[in-house]
Amino acid sequence: MPADIYLNVAVSGLLTGLVYGLMALGLSVIFGVVRVVNFAHGEMMTIAMYLAVALFANYKLDPLVMMVPIAVVLFVLGYLMQRGLISPFINRPEHSQFMLLVAIALIMVNGLLIVFGPDAQSVQTSYSYDSFMVGRLIVDATKVYAGAAAVAVAAALFAFFRFTLIGKAIRACADNYAGALVVGLNVKSLYALTFGIGAACVGAAGAMMAVLVDVTPPLGPAYTLLAFVIVITGGLGSMPGALLGGLLIGITEALGGLFFTPSAKSMFAFGLLVLVLLFRPQGILGKRPS
């Protein structure tokens, strides 16, 4: 097998992994702050993908250009979900939260089936079939654009949490809930804001993913599972960990498929997860429980 194929496949896996990472970043942000596991995460991404498809089909609006408006829509959805549905469950046992979010996920999948039907839908932009050739390296143009957009969104999110007052307040809630209350932070609002930001991340990731893969309603649960694998690998609640987990899963799937059999490429991602759980249970960049 020619040597350049390894580089081609690794680069492809890395670019896909960046988008995976952004999707998982939303899950990690929500869990790290609100301590609620969003079992409707993949379904929310599917909603974003359908928004991208619908905007393109009806108005020819490029999903990558519409990434910000779609993220805003998902932010509003996430904010309202937290305020209206999840907030009353914050102090309830985990199984109640789990059932609530699973119910929301089911409603989303079936709602999408009713509205859009079961057929796979795709976005065919002017660059859908483009690729860049650098020497013998062929890189899918859509993956390059989506990967670059994922890096930009992740950088903006890191900057938001590090440099803005609201970002610092959210981090304070995550670090010390009681302390945040004592200093007078409006934790309820900050939780809703955090859920909205996590949803916005997944909205941006969905817009990017819409140019990479065809969308069907059943994609949601598969992406929820993928997001869990990534955040557990990278480290629960760790933002850099989510990005790293995405990259590792993307590259592992790609190279696993190349070296062994492509039909079992998901097996390698789960194999990586098992190894991480065995040797570093808190995840690669996760904090060891005190």
Binding site: F31, P93, L106, Y129, S131, I138, T216, P218, F228
Partner: protein
Amino acid sequence: MKKTLDSNSARTARPGVTRRRFSVGAGAAGLLAGTAPFSIGRAQGAALKVGVLLPRSGVQAGIGQDCQRGVEIAAGVLKDLGLPDLAIMNGDTESNVEVSRSRAERLISEGAQLLVGAFDSGHTTAIAQVAEQKGIPFVINIAAAPPITEQGYKFVFRNFPTAPMIVGDAFTNQKEVFELAGSAPKSVVFMHVNDTFGTAMKNGFGAAMPKFNMPYTMAEQIAYDPAARDLSVELAKAKATGAEALLVVSRLNDAILLTRELVKQRWTPMAVLSVGPGWYEDQYLKTLGKLSDGPMSFVPWYDPNKKVSKQLEAALAKAHPGINLNTNHIYTFEALLIAADAYKRAGSTDPKALADAIRATNITDNVSIGPGIKFDAKGQNATLKNAAIQNRDGKLVTVAPKAAASAKVEWPLAAYDKRT
């Protein structure tokens, strides 16, 4: 202040989300992957109640809905043939084996007197077990895995070629195409879905290829997940083999994905030779436009010269303008034709009488290529024949066998980067 402290206590007192709980929850979330909408059933008067099981949602939804078109156009044509009415009860297998089994049981409990379906070999195998257990006749529209009719079932009938029949005909038709084209690939890379159908076809290729003295060697076999969202690695691996042509056994979504990757990875093989669905489907043609031109499919097809074929073409053109008549419509229609014909001869909805009538079927006024519909002792119609068809400007033309050809083969595949 007290209120704040109380709420704080409640907050800190609740058990934390541990990694174990999180992981258990994550596993449970995976179970959601099999969920989808409920099917809708309907029945009419004293007509024979036929449960039609198809993958109407899930990864095979596109093909399942295409098969449904065959159901929709059947009523008028059956009436013209003087056959009794059928009351169709729709069932959705959701592209899932377990759902197929439960939907079959549900349709029977709701009164279905005969089952038809189910496009996918895995789903069909599950339904066949239920039908046999309940003693309800099951007429398979499309499913090629040989074991389905090797179990000694008394209530299962298949009017569709088995994988070895399809593969044998495919090799014969390929050699004819190579002869017509004046050249042949020296090597092929074989890509196939790793579901029941794909595996059965792979085994069929392995067993049959040495007997046919094909001009090419198989550089590599690459199996892939039919539900894959990205086939870039698979195609990169195929391209790296240096094979001259691509031999595929695929479904619809993966056929589209593979074509996109061919374009993106700048590889135009000498030919795309498909033995199965996907590459001739209307959704493939519409989604890819000019990029859909060229692939050849070696598949069970219809004889355009038969009277019923013309009736079906007219009915489809009226109900679904712009849609090409294809395997999905033909074999789904023929399954209903078999049901109506048996019901007429049996004069009863008794399952055993219906099964006996199906076993004695001898329909010559049909659509598929071959002498007609009749079943052997195993419940298999062993007289069916394939054709080689090629995508041409959004239409499908027959290029082999020579006797049924409607156009000359275009060879080799036009470069993807030079299509406008």
